[in-house]
């Protein structure tokens, strides 16, 4: 039935820049987030956190905290009825620590009080006796057998090995082999709305959580596990969200709020401070990537040997799969026949690392794109040309020995890039530096990342209810986290149901109102949610036609959907509006809601040594950065940034551009300024005064020129998008700095100090070379 609706007509809503449903409220500040929520009789809550980065707990005494006027309750690990642990993949993080703390953010006690000031006083009065342990702050040191153990099983949480072909033989055959070590920083999400929410009990004693997150059902599961109560007794409402970027995929305040609401039987609100978010919140994994890459004299990559050491901090969170994505992307979107990868996920006392837009890909992209530039220079091959020669094509065997099933548009994005203004006129732009001591350069790179969970099983469901007025309520649990998903979902539903997009109402991100559509993560919300909606629209169309057929006395097969109506193919006067059909359904007491879902297509078996490699389909992009480097200070100004993603079908061009531009700006921070400095377990940069994110003043002229393709597993041919724009930014800027100065950057962010010393080192090498030549 769906086919009669979806084919043979021009698309009315899909592909149009429909104004964001949630846009006006967020732009004007009228949208109320859960951190703005105030309820009658509401308590405030705060976490008493560890003051030691690594220590045994000998005693916890809350008696003084309990005496603070206004304090209603103080909870410790003894008050947790279920599993005292959380973690999406491996529940290794205590809800409230009882015997050991592993980082400064570890939670030890919870305070609920009549006002915020009382909570602040009380957490300072929670007495903890510590027996300090040596702090493990260097992941390489942490891997040594005699290193102090963060967890009893050892500090190597995961060691993954992936082997394809014979990389040593490839190096023997290669015309050039380069080996370098690259390091990337610990980026923080810095969302405007901090980790926050309100927990309460409903009239039946069930827990209701209002917490901006990335998956209400995963939050429900983690709360259920910790409190030892059934899933059905926990309702999670996850929207609106004031920014997430992966940092709200893991549990933050949910379990604590649920515990306090159960204990006090009153609404309880918790809002982390910015500094608390810096201490306790998720961060991007810093990685050390040692990469040895060999190519033949034509620049074709023959082999890639990679060692990845990822610092996951005190707990695993999503680190095991972040490591897989790093492995998978370490060979770029290139034909690499021989691969040898060892990847380590290592515990330290450096906060906690987890999901962050790009999920391990930006770190390794920096390595492969730098090595490829070095190879191109050694072989005298143009930087764009070497990428074209190695680019994967449709139906190719990927670097891990599997055939790529989804669309592959990387070569086409390179063609777009070749014709872009910034690349075509690069010599003109490079020649016009603003000061005599400034140098300009361009960097060109590519990027790749799978969307979805690879070989891990995944699914999504959606519901659609027709209202008495003939409009539709669409239930999807993936939250809108700023990516424009709600509007895109509405466009997909309106297109398939042949109604006005204004007639679609979203029942979103509420575990009581919408079926489980999975997470808003892995650039997958559009594809998973959109396909789930299409499955549900198919059932709804069937319901509409069957009902209309009964009313009109026509065989269902003779009917077709028009604009918000069902009509006879033979006699167009015989038609019923959706409102008329809906009235019949509602008056007869018939079912007015349908639910349907789909299993996400995946390759059955993961590559040996991996958890989720390969993905069924991938996002691709090429990018160019034009920078100006002040050689006296080392400061880098990005002047232009060009991005050509392979896009699949673009559902909403305006949202698409917003996603790309946002990703590029967030990537600027990863490339140039953002690095949470942790010194012996103590974070030194935990607010906007010391942790510098890009502003509009730092934003370059951005041009996005997508290659529109058709992805066969996406709704209307759409692909994932959310992460691909950030992945090439660091590497493009690093390569541009080299082009400008001849100084190679091996550590991101490329802070002024690092760039300055890289230039000094390069000058020193040149001086020594001249001396050597006598």
């Amino acid at each position: 039935m769906t086919e009669t609706v979806l084919t043979g007509k021009e698309l009315r809503w899909v592909g149009k820049s429909i104004t964001r449903k949630d846009g006006a409220g967020k732009v004007t500040g009228e949208t109320k987030f859960f951190s703005d929520m105030v309820l009658p009789d509401m308590l405030w809550a705060k976490v008493a956190r560890s003051k030691c980065p690594h220590a045994l707990i000998k005693r916890v005494d809350t008696s003084k905290a309990e005496t603070v006027p206004g304090v209603v309750t103080v909870l410790t690990h003894k008050d947790i009825p279920g599993l005292n642990a959380f973690g999406i993949i491996i529940p290794d993080q205590p809800v409230l620590c009882h015997d050991k703390v592993r980082y400064l953010g570890d939670a030890i006690a919870l305070v609920a009080a009549e006002n915020l000031e009382a909570t602040e006083r009380a957490v300072e009065l929670v007495e903890v006796d510590y027996e300090p342990l040596p702090v493990v702050s260097d992941p390489i040191e942490a891997m040594k057998p005699d290193a102090p153990k963060v967890h009893s099983k050892g500090n190597i949480q995961r060691h993954a090995t992936v082997r394809v072909g014979d990389v040593e033989e490839a190096f023997r055959e290669a015309a050039v082999v380069v080996e370098n070590t690259f390091r990337t920083g610990r980026q923080m999400h810095m969302f405007l709305e901090l980790e926050a929410g309100v927990g309460m009990l409903d009239s039946e004693g069930n827990i209701v959580l209002y917490v901006g997150g990335q998956s209400p059902y995963r939050d429900q599961m983690q709360v259920s596990r910790a409190l030892g109560i059934s899933l059905e007794r926990i309702r999670v409402i996850s929207t609106p969200v004031g920014g997430a970027f992966g940092g709200k995929e893991e549990n933050t305040v949910q379990i604590h709020l649920a515990l306090l609401a159960m204990k006090t039987k009153r609404p309880v609100k918790m809002v982390w401070t910015r500094e608390e978010s810096g201490v306790a919140g998720m961060k991007r994994h810093p990685m050390n990537v040692t990469m040895k890459t060999g190519a033949d004299r034509n620049g074709r990559i023959l082999g890639n040997k990679v060692q990845i050491i990822a610092d996951t901090g005190a707990y695993a969170s999503l680190g095991p799969t972040v490591l897989d994505v790093a492995i998978e992307n370490s060979c770029g979107p290139y034909r690499v026949p021989n691969v040898n990868i060892d990847a380590y996920l290592v515990y330290t006392n450096n906060g906690v690392a987890g999901a962050f837009r790009g999920f391990g890909a930006p770190q390794v992209n920096f390595a492969i794109e730098s090595n490829l530039d070095i190879i191109a220079e050694k072989l005298g091959i143009d930087r764009l040309e070497i990428r074209k020669r190695n680019a994967l094509r449709e139906g190719d065997i990927g670097p891990f020995g599997y055939r790529i099933l989804g669309s592959v548009g990387i070569y086409e994005t390179l063609l777009k890039t070749e014709n872009s203004d910034v690349w075509t006129h690069r010599e003109k732009y490079k020649a016009t530096a603003s000061k005599p001591w400034c140098r300009r350069g361009v960097g060109i790179v590519t990027a790749v990342k799978g969307f979805g969970f690879g070989t891990l099983p995944d699914f999504g469901a959606a519901s659609i209810q027709i209202t008495p007025a003939g409009k539709f309520v669409v239930g999807v649990s993936c939250p809108e986290i700023g990516q424009g998903a709600l509007t895109a979902y509405s466009q997909i539903a309106a297109e398939a149901l042949r109604c006005d997009v204004a007639d679609i109402y979203m029942a979103s991100a509420d575990s009581r109102l919408a079926p489980d559509t999975g997470t808003s993560s892995a650039s997958m919300a559009l594809v998973r949610g959109g396909n789930a909606i299409l499955a549900a629209t198919s059932k709804m169309v069937n319901l509409l036609l069957e009902t209309a057929a009964n009313i009109l006395g026509e065989p269902k097969e003779h009917l077709v959907l028009g604009e918000s109506c069902a009509a006879s193919r033979k006699n167009t006067k015989k038609s019923l509006t959706y409102a008329e059909i809906a009235q019949t359904l509602h008056q007869s007491g018939s079912e007015t809601r349908v639910i349907a879902g789909f299993n996400v297509p995946r390759v059955d078996k993961p590559v040996e040594g991996s958890i989720e490699i390969p993905h069924w389909s991938y996002m691709y992009a090429s990018a160019v950065a034009l920078v100006e480097v002040n050689t006296l200070t080392g400061t880098v100004k990005v002047l232009k940034f060009f991005l050509s993603p392979e896009s699949g079908k673009i559902i909403n061009p305006q949202s698409y551009m917003g996603q790309c531009e946002g990703a590029i700006v967030q990537g600027l921070g990863f490339a140039l300024t953002e690095e949470a400095q942790i010194d012996n377990g103590v974070i030194r940069t935990n607010n906007f005064t010391t942790y510098i994110i890009p502003t509009i003043c730092d934003t370059p002229e951005i041009q996005v020129d997508p290659v529109e393709t058709y992805e066969k597993i996406g709704p209307f041919g759409a692909k994932g998008l959310g992460e691909i724009g950030i992945i090439p930014v660091g590497s493009a800027i690093a390569n541009a700095i080299y082009d400008a100065t001849g100084a190679r950057i091996f550590t991101l962010p490329a802070t002024p100090e690092r760039v300055y010393w890289a230039i000094k080192e390069k000058i020193g090498i040149e001086v020594n070379e001249r001396k050597g030549q006598g």
Binding site: I89, L318, A355, F453, L456, T519, F598, P606
Partner: protein
């Protein structure tokens, strides 16, 4: 349960439910497995049909 995907064929009684299925599979932690049919999560009491293809999803996420 290992993270790797796998397929297995199960023989269950005619009136088998999701709970029966969970009890019959070799998983370590069965409390929070999602049992999915045609993209929709089933409740523990949901009746299974002959020939159903069931997706067993540990509550994890990748990227």
């Amino acid at each position: 349960m290992a993270l790797e995907s796998a397929e297995l064929t199960l023989e269950l009684n005619d009136d088998a439910t999701t709970e029966d299925l969970v009890n019959s599979i070799p998983a370590k932690d069965k409390n929070y497995l999602y049992i999915v049919r045609e993209g929709i999560r089933l409740s523990p009491s949901s009746k299974l049909n002959d020939g159903d293809e069931i997706l067993i999803v540990p509550p994890i996420a990748g990227g």
